[in-house]
Symmetry: C2
Subunit: 293 residues, 2 copies
Protein backbone atom coordinates (compact mmCIF):
# COMPACT_ATOMS: atom_id res chain seq x y z
CA UNK A 1 0.00 0.00 0.00
CA UNK A 2 1.20 3.48 -0.84
CA UNK A 3 0.08 4.53 2.64
CA UNK A 4 -0.72 8.17 3.15
CA UNK A 5 0.66 9.11 -0.25
CA UNK A 6 -2.74 10.02 -1.64
CA UNK A 7 -2.00 8.05 -4.81
CA UNK A 8 -5.06 7.94 -7.02
CA UNK A 9 -7.07 4.83 -6.22
CA UNK A 10 -8.28 2.60 -9.05
CA UNK A 11 -12.08 2.64 -9.19
CA UNK A 12 -13.73 -0.38 -10.83
CA UNK A 13 -17.41 -0.17 -11.74
CA UNK A 14 -18.26 -3.47 -13.39
CA UNK A 15 -17.97 -7.13 -12.51
CA UNK A 16 -15.95 -7.76 -15.65
CA UNK A 17 -13.46 -4.99 -14.81
CA UNK A 18 -13.06 -6.45 -11.35
CA UNK A 19 -12.52 -9.95 -12.75
CA UNK A 20 -9.95 -8.62 -15.19
CA UNK A 21 -8.11 -6.78 -12.42
CA UNK A 22 -8.14 -9.86 -10.18
CA UNK A 23 -6.88 -12.14 -12.93
CA UNK A 24 -3.94 -9.79 -13.45
CA UNK A 25 -2.84 -9.77 -9.79
CA UNK A 26 0.52 -11.58 -9.70
CA UNK A 27 0.27 -15.04 -8.13
CA UNK A 28 2.49 -14.22 -5.15
CA UNK A 29 0.64 -11.04 -4.08
CA UNK A 30 -1.79 -11.26 -1.17
CA UNK A 31 -5.18 -9.56 -1.50
CA UNK A 32 -7.10 -8.12 1.46
CA UNK A 33 -10.75 -7.19 1.16
CA UNK A 34 -12.89 -4.72 3.09
CA UNK A 35 -16.53 -4.93 1.97
CA UNK A 36 -18.54 -1.80 2.87
CA UNK A 37 -21.71 0.05 2.00
CA UNK A 38 -19.72 3.30 1.83
CA UNK A 39 -20.32 6.36 4.02
CA UNK A 40 -16.94 5.48 5.44
CA UNK A 41 -16.10 6.50 8.99
CA UNK A 42 -13.24 5.77 11.40
CA UNK A 43 -14.59 2.26 11.97
CA UNK A 44 -14.17 1.41 8.29
CA UNK A 45 -10.81 3.15 8.24
CA UNK A 46 -9.61 0.90 11.03
CA UNK A 47 -10.60 -2.16 8.95
CA UNK A 48 -8.68 -0.70 6.02
CA UNK A 49 -5.69 0.06 8.22
CA UNK A 50 -5.57 -3.47 9.66
CA UNK A 51 -5.95 -4.90 6.17
CA UNK A 52 -3.11 -2.76 4.84
CA UNK A 53 -0.77 -4.08 7.52
CA UNK A 54 -1.45 -7.69 6.51
CA UNK A 55 -1.54 -7.81 2.72
CA UNK A 56 0.04 -6.55 -0.48
CA UNK A 57 -3.12 -5.20 -2.10
CA UNK A 58 -6.17 -3.71 -0.37
CA UNK A 59 -9.50 -3.63 -2.17
CA UNK A 60 -12.55 -1.90 -0.68
CA UNK A 61 -16.01 -2.50 -2.07
CA UNK A 62 -18.65 0.21 -1.80
CA UNK A 63 -22.09 -1.14 -2.58
CA UNK A 64 -25.39 -0.42 -0.85
CA UNK A 65 -26.75 -3.93 -1.20
CA UNK A 66 -30.52 -3.84 -1.78
CA UNK A 67 -30.86 -7.52 -0.80
CA UNK A 68 -30.12 -6.81 2.85
CA UNK A 69 -32.69 -4.05 3.32
CA UNK A 70 -36.26 -4.83 4.33
CA UNK A 71 -39.17 -3.16 2.53
CA UNK A 72 -39.60 -0.56 5.30
CA UNK A 73 -35.92 0.07 5.89
CA UNK A 74 -33.67 2.93 4.86
CA UNK A 75 -32.31 1.73 1.49
CA UNK A 76 -33.33 4.90 -0.36
CA UNK A 77 -32.03 7.34 2.23
CA UNK A 78 -28.86 5.40 3.09
CA UNK A 79 -25.98 7.89 2.64
CA UNK A 80 -23.85 7.59 -0.54
CA UNK A 81 -21.08 10.20 -0.31
CA UNK A 82 -18.90 8.55 -2.95
CA UNK A 83 -16.39 11.35 -3.55
CA UNK A 84 -15.65 11.66 0.14
CA UNK A 85 -15.28 7.87 0.42
CA UNK A 86 -12.91 7.84 -2.51
CA UNK A 87 -10.77 10.55 -0.91
CA UNK A 88 -10.62 8.64 2.37
CA UNK A 89 -9.57 5.49 0.53
CA UNK A 90 -6.87 7.38 -1.35
CA UNK A 91 -5.54 8.87 1.89
CA UNK A 92 -5.47 5.41 3.44
CA UNK A 93 -3.51 3.93 0.54
CA UNK A 94 -6.29 1.65 -0.71
CA UNK A 95 -5.32 0.10 -4.05
CA UNK A 96 -8.74 -0.55 -5.55
CA UNK A 97 -12.33 0.54 -4.92
CA UNK A 98 -14.96 -1.75 -6.37
CA UNK A 99 -18.14 0.33 -6.61
CA UNK A 100 -20.56 -1.43 -8.95
CA UNK A 101 -23.56 0.36 -10.39
CA UNK A 102 -26.52 -0.80 -8.34
CA UNK A 103 -28.24 -1.98 -11.52
CA UNK A 104 -25.33 -4.12 -12.72
CA UNK A 105 -24.38 -6.16 -9.69
CA UNK A 106 -27.24 -8.66 -9.65
CA UNK A 107 -28.74 -9.87 -12.91
CA UNK A 108 -32.42 -9.02 -13.35
CA UNK A 109 -33.31 -12.68 -12.85
CA UNK A 110 -30.97 -13.24 -9.88
CA UNK A 111 -32.27 -16.31 -8.03
CA UNK A 112 -29.44 -17.63 -5.84
CA UNK A 113 -29.33 -17.08 -2.10
CA UNK A 114 -27.21 -18.24 0.78
CA UNK A 115 -28.46 -18.83 4.32
CA UNK A 116 -26.68 -19.64 7.55
CA UNK A 117 -29.49 -21.27 9.47
CA UNK A 118 -29.96 -20.83 13.18
CA UNK A 119 -27.41 -18.07 13.71
CA UNK A 120 -29.87 -15.61 12.18
CA UNK A 121 -32.69 -16.50 14.53
CA UNK A 122 -32.17 -13.97 17.33
CA UNK A 123 -30.85 -10.42 17.69
CA UNK A 124 -31.02 -8.49 14.40
CA UNK A 125 -32.07 -11.65 12.58
CA UNK A 126 -35.35 -11.61 14.48
CA UNK A 127 -35.97 -7.90 13.83
CA UNK A 128 -34.86 -7.91 10.20
CA UNK A 129 -36.14 -11.01 8.38
CA UNK A 130 -34.11 -11.74 5.24
CA UNK A 131 -31.36 -9.31 6.25
CA UNK A 132 -28.63 -11.90 6.81
CA UNK A 133 -29.64 -13.87 3.72
CA UNK A 134 -28.97 -10.65 1.81
CA UNK A 135 -25.67 -10.12 3.62
CA UNK A 136 -24.47 -13.70 3.04
CA UNK A 137 -25.45 -13.61 -0.62
CA UNK A 138 -23.71 -10.34 -1.41
CA UNK A 139 -20.57 -11.23 0.53
CA UNK A 140 -20.37 -14.66 -1.08
CA UNK A 141 -20.65 -13.12 -4.54
CA UNK A 142 -18.07 -10.46 -3.64
CA UNK A 143 -15.71 -13.12 -2.29
CA UNK A 144 -16.01 -15.05 -5.56
CA UNK A 145 -15.18 -11.93 -7.54
CA UNK A 146 -12.41 -10.54 -5.33
CA UNK A 147 -10.94 -13.91 -4.27
CA UNK A 148 -9.27 -12.34 -1.25
CA UNK A 149 -6.76 -14.05 0.99
CA UNK A 150 -8.14 -12.14 3.96
CA UNK A 151 -11.39 -10.29 4.59
CA UNK A 152 -12.08 -7.70 7.30
CA UNK A 153 -15.30 -7.16 9.24
CA UNK A 154 -16.14 -4.98 12.23
CA UNK A 155 -17.23 -6.43 15.55
CA UNK A 156 -19.86 -3.68 15.78
CA UNK A 157 -21.99 -5.85 13.46
CA UNK A 158 -21.17 -8.91 15.53
CA UNK A 159 -23.99 -11.13 14.29
CA UNK A 160 -23.03 -10.39 10.70
CA UNK A 161 -19.37 -11.14 11.43
CA UNK A 162 -20.09 -14.44 13.18
CA UNK A 163 -22.60 -15.56 10.53
CA UNK A 164 -20.13 -14.79 7.75
CA UNK A 165 -17.34 -16.58 9.59
CA UNK A 166 -19.60 -19.63 9.84
CA UNK A 167 -20.47 -19.38 6.14
CA UNK A 168 -16.78 -19.28 5.23
CA UNK A 169 -16.07 -22.37 7.34
CA UNK A 170 -19.13 -24.35 6.20
CA UNK A 171 -18.54 -23.66 2.51
CA UNK A 172 -14.76 -24.19 2.77
CA UNK A 173 -13.98 -20.79 1.33
CA UNK A 174 -10.25 -20.37 1.01
CA UNK A 175 -9.77 -17.14 2.95
CA UNK A 176 -9.15 -15.88 6.45
CA UNK A 177 -11.79 -13.85 8.25
CA UNK A 178 -10.45 -11.03 10.43
CA UNK A 179 -12.77 -9.42 12.99
CA UNK A 180 -11.78 -5.92 14.09
CA UNK A 181 -12.72 -4.08 17.29
CA UNK A 182 -15.46 -1.47 17.26
CA UNK A 183 -14.35 2.15 17.02
CA UNK A 184 -16.19 4.55 19.34
CA UNK A 185 -16.68 8.25 19.83
CA UNK A 186 -15.28 9.70 23.08
CA UNK A 187 -18.84 9.35 24.48
CA UNK A 188 -18.67 5.60 23.85
CA UNK A 189 -21.14 5.70 20.94
CA UNK A 190 -20.11 3.11 18.36
CA UNK A 191 -19.37 4.67 14.98
CA UNK A 192 -22.02 3.96 12.37
CA UNK A 193 -22.98 5.41 9.02
CA UNK A 194 -26.45 5.80 10.52
CA UNK A 195 -25.29 8.11 13.35
CA UNK A 196 -25.62 10.98 10.90
CA UNK A 197 -29.40 10.55 11.02
CA UNK A 198 -29.50 11.40 14.76
CA UNK A 199 -30.44 14.75 16.28
CA UNK A 200 -27.78 16.19 18.62
CA UNK A 201 -30.03 15.32 21.55
CA UNK A 202 -30.54 11.71 20.52
CA UNK A 203 -26.85 11.34 19.75
CA UNK A 204 -26.09 12.33 23.32
CA UNK A 205 -28.72 9.88 24.60
CA UNK A 206 -27.34 7.12 22.38
CA UNK A 207 -24.13 7.15 24.39
CA UNK A 208 -26.20 5.26 26.96
CA UNK A 209 -26.02 2.11 24.78
CA UNK A 210 -22.35 1.55 25.44
CA UNK A 211 -22.66 2.85 28.99
CA UNK A 212 -25.27 0.15 29.67
CA UNK A 213 -23.15 -2.57 28.10
CA UNK A 214 -20.07 -1.44 30.03
CA UNK A 215 -21.95 -1.35 33.32
CA UNK A 216 -23.22 -4.87 32.70
CA UNK A 217 -19.73 -6.02 31.81
CA UNK A 218 -18.46 -4.64 35.13
CA UNK A 219 -21.18 -6.59 36.92
CA UNK A 220 -20.14 -9.70 34.97
CA UNK A 221 -16.52 -9.12 35.90
CA UNK A 222 -17.65 -8.85 39.53
CA UNK A 223 -19.22 -12.29 39.27
CA UNK A 224 -22.78 -11.75 38.03
CA UNK A 225 -23.73 -14.59 35.65
CA UNK A 226 -27.50 -14.23 35.48
CA UNK A 227 -28.53 -12.90 32.05
CA UNK A 228 -31.82 -11.43 33.30
CA UNK A 229 -30.01 -9.37 35.92
CA UNK A 230 -27.35 -8.24 33.45
CA UNK A 231 -30.01 -7.30 30.90
CA UNK A 232 -31.91 -5.26 33.48
CA UNK A 233 -28.68 -3.42 34.29
CA UNK A 234 -28.39 -2.50 30.61
CA UNK A 235 -32.06 -1.56 30.37
CA UNK A 236 -31.85 0.70 33.40
CA UNK A 237 -29.00 2.61 31.81
CA UNK A 238 -30.83 3.30 28.53
CA UNK A 239 -31.62 6.97 27.93
CA UNK A 240 -34.54 7.19 25.52
CA UNK A 241 -35.62 10.70 26.47
CA UNK A 242 -39.28 11.54 26.89
CA UNK A 243 -41.73 9.71 24.68
CA UNK A 244 -42.43 11.75 21.56
CA UNK A 245 -45.84 12.47 20.15
CA UNK A 246 -44.91 11.23 16.67
CA UNK A 247 -45.22 7.67 15.42
CA UNK A 248 -41.51 6.83 15.76
CA UNK A 249 -40.87 7.01 19.50
CA UNK A 250 -37.43 6.16 20.86
CA UNK A 251 -37.60 2.54 21.96
CA UNK A 252 -35.58 -0.54 22.69
CA UNK A 253 -35.73 -3.15 19.90
CA UNK A 254 -33.90 -5.83 21.89
CA UNK A 255 -31.42 -6.35 24.70
CA UNK A 256 -30.09 -9.89 24.55
CA UNK A 257 -27.31 -12.10 25.85
CA UNK A 258 -26.44 -14.98 23.53
CA UNK A 259 -23.72 -17.59 23.16
CA UNK A 260 -20.91 -16.72 20.74
CA UNK A 261 -21.08 -20.20 19.18
CA UNK A 262 -24.77 -20.37 18.30
CA UNK A 263 -26.05 -16.86 18.95
CA UNK A 264 -28.84 -18.34 21.06
CA UNK A 265 -30.01 -16.74 24.31
CA UNK A 266 -28.39 -18.16 27.42
CA UNK A 267 -29.82 -17.89 30.91
CA UNK A 268 -26.64 -18.36 32.89
CA UNK A 269 -23.39 -17.20 31.31
CA UNK A 270 -21.22 -20.31 31.34
CA UNK A 271 -19.55 -19.86 27.94
CA UNK A 272 -18.23 -17.06 25.69
CA UNK A 273 -21.17 -14.74 25.13
CA UNK A 274 -22.32 -11.57 23.41
CA UNK A 275 -24.29 -8.84 25.18
CA UNK A 276 -26.08 -7.11 22.33
CA UNK A 277 -28.75 -4.49 21.86
CA UNK A 278 -30.63 -2.54 19.25
CA UNK A 279 -32.39 0.74 19.99
CA UNK A 280 -34.51 3.02 17.83
CA UNK A 281 -34.02 6.76 18.10
CA UNK A 282 -36.91 7.88 15.96
CA UNK A 283 -36.59 5.96 12.69
CA UNK A 284 -32.89 5.36 13.21
CA UNK A 285 -31.91 1.95 14.53
CA UNK A 286 -28.60 1.68 16.35
CA UNK A 287 -26.87 -1.51 17.44
CA UNK A 288 -23.99 -2.22 19.78
CA UNK A 289 -22.49 -5.16 21.65
CA UNK A 290 -19.73 -6.35 23.94
CA UNK A 291 -18.12 -9.78 23.87
CA UNK A 292 -17.66 -11.45 27.26
CA UNK A 293 -15.49 -12.56 28.80
CA UNK B 1 -3.50 -36.71 -18.21
CA UNK B 2 -1.64 -39.98 -18.53
CA UNK B 3 -4.55 -41.25 -20.59
CA UNK B 4 -4.98 -45.01 -20.70
CA UNK B 5 -1.68 -45.62 -18.98
CA UNK B 6 -3.31 -46.89 -15.81
CA UNK B 7 -1.04 -44.69 -13.71
CA UNK B 8 -2.03 -44.91 -10.05
CA UNK B 9 -4.51 -42.13 -9.26
CA UNK B 10 -3.98 -39.96 -6.20
CA UNK B 11 -6.81 -40.52 -3.72
CA UNK B 12 -7.47 -37.69 -1.25
CA UNK B 13 -9.71 -38.35 1.74
CA UNK B 14 -9.79 -35.11 3.73
CA UNK B 15 -10.61 -31.49 3.03
CA UNK B 16 -7.17 -30.45 4.25
CA UNK B 17 -5.39 -32.89 1.90
CA UNK B 18 -7.46 -31.56 -0.96
CA UNK B 19 -6.65 -27.95 -0.05
CA UNK B 20 -2.96 -28.80 0.20
CA UNK B 21 -3.03 -30.49 -3.21
CA UNK B 22 -4.86 -27.56 -4.78
CA UNK B 23 -2.49 -24.99 -3.30
CA UNK B 24 0.40 -26.91 -4.85
CA UNK B 25 -1.02 -26.93 -8.39
CA UNK B 26 1.27 -24.70 -10.46
CA UNK B 27 -0.37 -21.39 -11.37
CA UNK B 28 -0.41 -22.03 -15.11
CA UNK B 29 -2.06 -25.47 -14.95
CA UNK B 30 -5.78 -25.74 -15.69
CA UNK B 31 -7.94 -27.85 -13.41
CA UNK B 32 -11.06 -29.69 -14.59
CA UNK B 33 -13.57 -31.08 -12.12
CA UNK B 34 -16.09 -33.91 -12.44
CA UNK B 35 -18.22 -34.16 -9.28
CA UNK B 36 -19.90 -37.56 -8.89
CA UNK B 37 -21.53 -39.80 -6.32
CA UNK B 38 -19.46 -42.72 -7.58
CA UNK B 39 -20.87 -45.95 -9.08
CA UNK B 40 -19.27 -44.68 -12.27
CA UNK B 41 -20.70 -45.72 -15.63
CA UNK B 42 -20.10 -44.73 -19.23
CA UNK B 43 -21.98 -41.46 -18.67
CA UNK B 44 -19.48 -40.40 -16.01
CA UNK B 45 -16.62 -41.66 -18.14
CA UNK B 46 -17.75 -39.39 -20.96
CA UNK B 47 -17.63 -36.40 -18.57
CA UNK B 48 -14.13 -37.45 -17.55
CA UNK B 49 -13.09 -37.89 -21.17
CA UNK B 50 -14.39 -34.45 -22.18
CA UNK B 51 -12.69 -32.93 -19.16
CA UNK B 52 -9.39 -34.60 -20.00
CA UNK B 53 -9.43 -33.10 -23.48
CA UNK B 54 -9.81 -29.57 -22.08
CA UNK B 55 -7.53 -29.30 -19.07
CA UNK B 56 -4.15 -30.17 -17.62
CA UNK B 57 -5.40 -31.86 -14.45
CA UNK B 58 -8.61 -33.83 -13.97
CA UNK B 59 -10.06 -34.27 -10.50
CA UNK B 60 -13.10 -36.48 -9.85
CA UNK B 61 -14.97 -36.30 -6.57
CA UNK B 62 -16.80 -39.36 -5.27
CA UNK B 63 -19.14 -38.46 -2.46
CA UNK B 64 -22.65 -39.71 -1.78
CA UNK B 65 -23.97 -36.40 -0.48
CA UNK B 66 -26.49 -36.98 2.32
CA UNK B 67 -27.88 -33.43 1.96
CA UNK B 68 -29.47 -34.20 -1.39
CA UNK B 69 -31.37 -37.30 -0.30
CA UNK B 70 -34.85 -37.07 1.19
CA UNK B 71 -35.74 -39.05 4.33
CA UNK B 72 -37.46 -41.80 2.30
CA UNK B 73 -34.91 -41.95 -0.50
CA UNK B 74 -32.13 -44.42 -1.26
CA UNK B 75 -29.15 -42.89 0.60
CA UNK B 76 -28.36 -46.09 2.51
CA UNK B 77 -28.62 -48.46 -0.44
CA UNK B 78 -27.00 -46.14 -2.99
CA UNK B 79 -24.16 -48.18 -4.56
CA UNK B 80 -20.59 -47.45 -3.39
CA UNK B 81 -18.22 -49.67 -5.44
CA UNK B 82 -15.13 -47.60 -4.66
CA UNK B 83 -12.43 -49.99 -5.88
CA UNK B 84 -14.12 -50.37 -9.23
CA UNK B 85 -14.55 -46.59 -9.49
CA UNK B 86 -10.88 -46.09 -8.68
CA UNK B 87 -9.86 -48.55 -11.39
CA UNK B 88 -12.06 -46.80 -13.95
CA UNK B 89 -10.55 -43.44 -13.02
CA UNK B 90 -7.04 -44.86 -13.34
CA UNK B 91 -7.82 -46.29 -16.75
CA UNK B 92 -9.22 -42.94 -17.84
CA UNK B 93 -6.11 -41.06 -16.72
CA UNK B 94 -7.77 -39.13 -13.90
CA UNK B 95 -5.16 -37.32 -11.83
CA UNK B 96 -6.94 -37.06 -8.49
CA UNK B 97 -9.93 -38.67 -6.80
CA UNK B 98 -11.40 -36.70 -3.91
CA UNK B 99 -13.38 -39.18 -1.84
CA UNK B 100 -14.03 -37.67 1.58
CA UNK B 101 -15.19 -39.78 4.49
CA UNK B 102 -18.92 -39.14 4.80
CA UNK B 103 -18.41 -38.04 8.41
CA UNK B 104 -15.73 -35.48 7.63
CA UNK B 105 -17.15 -33.47 4.79
CA UNK B 106 -19.72 -31.38 6.67
CA UNK B 107 -19.01 -30.23 10.20
CA UNK B 108 -21.44 -31.55 12.81
CA UNK B 109 -22.95 -28.08 13.13
CA UNK B 110 -23.07 -27.35 9.40
CA UNK B 111 -25.64 -24.57 8.93
CA UNK B 112 -25.02 -22.99 5.53
CA UNK B 113 -27.19 -23.70 2.50
CA UNK B 114 -27.51 -22.40 -1.02
CA UNK B 115 -30.76 -22.16 -2.98
CA UNK B 116 -31.53 -21.26 -6.56
CA UNK B 117 -35.11 -20.12 -6.21
CA UNK B 118 -37.74 -20.80 -8.84
CA UNK B 119 -35.72 -23.21 -10.98
CA UNK B 120 -36.32 -25.91 -8.37
CA UNK B 121 -40.09 -25.52 -8.39
CA UNK B 122 -41.08 -28.08 -11.04
CA UNK B 123 -39.80 -31.43 -12.33
CA UNK B 124 -37.62 -33.21 -9.75
CA UNK B 125 -37.72 -30.15 -7.51
CA UNK B 126 -41.43 -30.73 -6.94
CA UNK B 127 -40.98 -34.45 -6.24
CA UNK B 128 -37.86 -34.12 -4.11
CA UNK B 129 -38.14 -31.14 -1.73
CA UNK B 130 -34.72 -30.00 -0.51
CA UNK B 131 -32.90 -32.06 -3.15
CA UNK B 132 -31.50 -29.15 -5.15
CA UNK B 133 -30.64 -27.21 -2.01
CA UNK B 134 -28.47 -30.20 -1.11
CA UNK B 135 -26.98 -30.35 -4.60
CA UNK B 136 -26.20 -26.62 -4.71
CA UNK B 137 -24.65 -26.66 -1.25
CA UNK B 138 -22.37 -29.64 -1.89
CA UNK B 139 -21.29 -28.41 -5.31
CA UNK B 140 -20.60 -24.90 -4.01
CA UNK B 141 -18.45 -26.31 -1.22
CA UNK B 142 -16.66 -28.63 -3.66
CA UNK B 143 -16.06 -25.73 -6.05
CA UNK B 144 -14.51 -23.71 -3.21
CA UNK B 145 -12.20 -26.60 -2.35
CA UNK B 146 -11.26 -27.71 -5.87
CA UNK B 147 -11.26 -24.22 -7.45
CA UNK B 148 -11.64 -25.69 -10.91
CA UNK B 149 -11.34 -23.74 -14.14
CA UNK B 150 -13.99 -25.96 -15.71
CA UNK B 151 -16.64 -28.27 -14.26
CA UNK B 152 -18.51 -31.05 -16.07
CA UNK B 153 -22.12 -32.11 -15.60
CA UNK B 154 -24.33 -34.52 -17.52
CA UNK B 155 -27.44 -33.39 -19.35
CA UNK B 156 -29.23 -36.47 -18.04
CA UNK B 157 -29.72 -34.53 -14.78
CA UNK B 158 -30.80 -31.49 -16.77
CA UNK B 159 -32.50 -29.62 -13.93
CA UNK B 160 -29.41 -30.05 -11.77
CA UNK B 161 -27.15 -28.85 -14.58
CA UNK B 162 -29.25 -25.76 -15.32
CA UNK B 163 -29.68 -24.88 -11.64
CA UNK B 164 -25.94 -25.16 -11.05
CA UNK B 165 -25.19 -23.11 -14.13
CA UNK B 166 -27.50 -20.42 -12.76
CA UNK B 167 -25.82 -20.61 -9.35
CA UNK B 168 -22.41 -20.15 -10.95
CA UNK B 169 -23.61 -17.11 -12.88
CA UNK B 170 -25.53 -15.51 -9.99
CA UNK B 171 -22.68 -15.93 -7.51
CA UNK B 172 -20.01 -14.90 -10.06
CA UNK B 173 -18.03 -18.09 -9.56
CA UNK B 174 -14.89 -17.97 -11.67
CA UNK B 175 -15.30 -21.20 -13.64
CA UNK B 176 -16.83 -22.52 -16.83
CA UNK B 177 -19.72 -24.97 -16.68
CA UNK B 178 -19.66 -27.67 -19.37
CA UNK B 179 -22.83 -29.70 -19.99
CA UNK B 180 -22.26 -33.07 -21.65
CA UNK B 181 -24.73 -35.15 -23.66
CA UNK B 182 -26.48 -38.12 -22.07
CA UNK B 183 -24.97 -41.55 -22.75
CA UNK B 184 -27.51 -44.27 -23.55
CA UNK B 185 -27.68 -48.01 -23.82
CA UNK B 186 -28.46 -49.40 -27.31
CA UNK B 187 -32.10 -49.60 -26.16
CA UNK B 188 -32.09 -45.86 -25.57
CA UNK B 189 -32.15 -46.17 -21.76
CA UNK B 190 -30.10 -43.34 -20.25
CA UNK B 191 -27.21 -44.63 -18.17
CA UNK B 192 -27.72 -44.18 -14.44
CA UNK B 193 -26.18 -45.61 -11.31
CA UNK B 194 -29.73 -46.54 -10.35
CA UNK B 195 -30.30 -48.78 -13.40
CA UNK B 196 -28.64 -51.58 -11.44
CA UNK B 197 -31.67 -51.68 -9.14
CA UNK B 198 -33.95 -52.68 -12.03
CA UNK B 199 -35.19 -56.19 -12.82
CA UNK B 200 -34.41 -57.34 -16.38
CA UNK B 201 -38.08 -56.94 -17.23
CA UNK B 202 -38.33 -53.40 -15.90
CA UNK B 203 -35.05 -52.49 -17.58
CA UNK B 204 -36.57 -53.49 -20.91
CA UNK B 205 -39.72 -51.52 -20.12
CA UNK B 206 -37.64 -48.50 -19.10
CA UNK B 207 -36.43 -48.15 -22.68
CA UNK B 208 -39.88 -46.69 -23.29
CA UNK B 209 -38.80 -43.46 -21.52
CA UNK B 210 -36.47 -42.44 -24.32
CA UNK B 211 -38.76 -43.90 -26.96
CA UNK B 212 -41.54 -41.64 -25.71
CA UNK B 213 -39.30 -38.59 -25.66
CA UNK B 214 -37.99 -39.36 -29.16
CA UNK B 215 -41.47 -39.84 -30.56
CA UNK B 216 -42.54 -36.51 -29.09
CA UNK B 217 -39.45 -34.86 -30.53
CA UNK B 218 -40.38 -36.18 -33.96
CA UNK B 219 -43.84 -34.70 -33.55
CA UNK B 220 -42.25 -31.40 -32.50
CA UNK B 221 -39.98 -31.52 -35.54
CA UNK B 222 -43.08 -32.09 -37.67
CA UNK B 223 -44.58 -28.89 -36.31
CA UNK B 224 -46.48 -29.88 -33.17
CA UNK B 225 -46.11 -27.10 -30.56
CA UNK B 226 -48.87 -27.97 -28.10
CA UNK B 227 -47.35 -29.29 -24.87
CA UNK B 228 -50.44 -31.26 -23.85
CA UNK B 229 -50.40 -33.15 -27.12
CA UNK B 230 -46.67 -33.80 -26.93
CA UNK B 231 -46.99 -34.98 -23.32
CA UNK B 232 -49.79 -37.36 -24.26
CA UNK B 233 -47.56 -38.78 -27.01
CA UNK B 234 -44.91 -39.49 -24.37
CA UNK B 235 -47.46 -40.92 -21.94
CA UNK B 236 -48.89 -43.26 -24.56
CA UNK B 237 -45.44 -44.68 -25.20
CA UNK B 238 -44.71 -45.47 -21.53
CA UNK B 239 -44.43 -49.18 -20.77
CA UNK B 240 -45.13 -49.68 -17.07
CA UNK B 241 -46.07 -53.36 -17.32
CA UNK B 242 -49.06 -54.72 -15.45
CA UNK B 243 -49.82 -53.17 -12.08
CA UNK B 244 -48.15 -55.16 -9.33
CA UNK B 245 -49.77 -56.28 -6.11
CA UNK B 246 -47.05 -54.73 -3.91
CA UNK B 247 -47.01 -51.19 -2.58
CA UNK B 248 -44.48 -49.89 -5.09
CA UNK B 249 -46.26 -50.13 -8.44
CA UNK B 250 -44.60 -48.88 -11.59
CA UNK B 251 -45.89 -45.36 -12.14
CA UNK B 252 -45.21 -42.06 -13.82
CA UNK B 253 -43.94 -39.38 -11.42
CA UNK B 254 -44.16 -36.57 -13.97
CA UNK B 255 -44.06 -35.83 -17.66
CA UNK B 256 -43.43 -32.15 -18.19
CA UNK B 257 -42.42 -29.63 -20.82
CA UNK B 258 -40.69 -26.55 -19.40
CA UNK B 259 -38.71 -23.59 -20.67
CA UNK B 260 -34.94 -23.96 -20.57
CA UNK B 261 -34.54 -20.49 -19.08
CA UNK B 262 -36.86 -20.76 -16.08
CA UNK B 263 -37.77 -24.46 -15.97
CA UNK B 264 -41.42 -23.47 -15.80
CA UNK B 265 -44.15 -25.34 -17.69
CA UNK B 266 -45.04 -23.84 -21.05
CA UNK B 267 -48.29 -24.48 -22.90
CA UNK B 268 -47.13 -23.65 -26.42
CA UNK B 269 -43.49 -24.28 -27.25
CA UNK B 270 -42.25 -20.90 -28.46
CA UNK B 271 -38.78 -20.97 -26.87
CA UNK B 272 -35.98 -23.46 -26.10
CA UNK B 273 -37.59 -26.15 -23.94
CA UNK B 274 -36.98 -29.36 -22.05
CA UNK B 275 -39.22 -32.41 -22.36
CA UNK B 276 -38.58 -34.24 -19.11
CA UNK B 277 -39.99 -37.18 -17.21
CA UNK B 278 -39.54 -39.26 -14.10
CA UNK B 279 -40.90 -42.78 -13.75
CA UNK B 280 -40.88 -45.23 -10.86
CA UNK B 281 -40.15 -48.87 -11.58
CA UNK B 282 -40.88 -50.28 -8.17
CA UNK B 283 -38.86 -48.20 -5.71
CA UNK B 284 -36.43 -47.11 -8.40
CA UNK B 285 -36.95 -43.66 -9.85
CA UNK B 286 -35.58 -43.01 -13.33
CA UNK B 287 -35.36 -39.67 -15.09
CA UNK B 288 -34.71 -38.67 -18.66
CA UNK B 289 -35.12 -35.64 -20.91
CA UNK B 290 -34.60 -34.19 -24.36
CA UNK B 291 -33.80 -30.56 -25.12
CA UNK B 292 -35.77 -28.99 -27.96
CA UNK B 293 -35.27 -27.67 -30.47
Amino acid sequence: MGEGLGVRVLVLRSLSDLRQWRDAVPHGKSVGFVPTMGALHAGHMKLIEECGKDVDLTIVSIFVNPLQFGPNEDLARYPRPFEQDQKLCEQAGVDVIFAPESSGFYSVDHATYCDVEGLDRYLCGASRPGHFRGVCTVVLKLFNLVQPHRAYFGKKDIQQALILRKMVADLSLNLEMVLVDTVREPSGLALSSRNGYLSDEDKQRAASLYRGLSTARSAYQNGERNSEILKSIIRNEMDLGSVRADDSPNRIDYIEIVSQSKLEPIIIIDQPAVMALAVYYGKTRLIDNILIP
